[in-house]
Amino acid sequence: MAALRDGDFAALQILLKAPSKDAVRQLCQECFSSPPAALGPLAQRACPGLAVSAEEAEQLVSALHNLTRHVVYRGLTRAEDILCLFPENFHQNLKNLLTKIILENISAWRNEAQASQISLPRLVDMDWRVDIKTSSDSIIRMAVPTCLLQLKIQEDAALCGNNPVVSALTVELSKETLDTMLEGLGRIRDQLSAVANK
């Protein structure tokens, strides 16, 4: 998470050289979504469009990243709160444009932040089937139902970047195990409703 720095707003004024409002919009979105490590390459791509030096492009991209991330972090949703962030002498029109762009994107950005937060491996899919065991080396004839449950688990998104590692785990449950599991899940559901009803 980046904190707003003093030089950031000065750097933001470079946006006045942008060719169009859409270009600014595009740049804002790219700067928010980019992790800090990828800001360098992003600045290089933005350079020609803005007709600025590499160093200035880097400062701008970094400032935009900090600003957008800061707004999402604080959970600011009102125009006044965002406008307050800018210093007194900041270019009026640019300030309004940036605020407008941020407000347009804030809820999508918030969802993006939540989706990429650290977590334990996540469940992405589950499938099941029920088999009847009819024979084995310990009993020649039987009719025992059993359940096979396949869970697709994805490792922490932040660690994998663009190549999420999904592993499949297949577990076998007997009827007794399933009953116990359902008991546990039922208790979770009851506690969740108790919390929701408070």
Partner: protein
Amino acid sequence: MGLLNFTREPVPEAVSGDMHNLNQLSAQQFSALTEVLFRFLTEPKEVERFLTQLSDFATMNKISLGPLKNIVKSILLVPNGALKRNLSSEQVRADFIALGLSEEKASYFAEQWKVNSPTLTRLAVGQTLMINQLIDMEWKFGVTAGSSELEKVGSIFLQLKLVVKKGSQLENVYVELTLPQFYSFLHEMERVKTSLESFS
């Protein structure tokens, strides 16, 4: 010897000799030995205890332990085969008689078999191969208060720890679910339960 119920293979030669020796035991002695045997069959992990009890039996009845162990090996052939083939107590009795055991003792053993077979069947089913058996499930749920990207979050998460038996080792698998995923998981598991119950 006619066709046996508990096995299709030829029985080792020593068995008829062992049955003959068994016939020499009194009814009381046979009953005590049968009790030791069934206690072992219903708790197959208690090998130490079984051997101790056999040894005590041998001492108390002035029988040498070696021959006694051979006799026990022969006797156990029948219940093991009977379990595999879901034999009735009449079939077990018929097999013992065919092997040379007296009618009285064969009937007694078959009675004990009838009493113990539900437990023994359940044990045998439990021994049937299970792939990645789910042993245990632990869970916790809570609220994400904040993160490095969002100062205030307030979303609910559910974490499950599944203990899975892979071969002879236990492996822990940790999974996190969102609330909608949890409800969908619960719904699916209830469907599985209905399906399993319709086949039981």
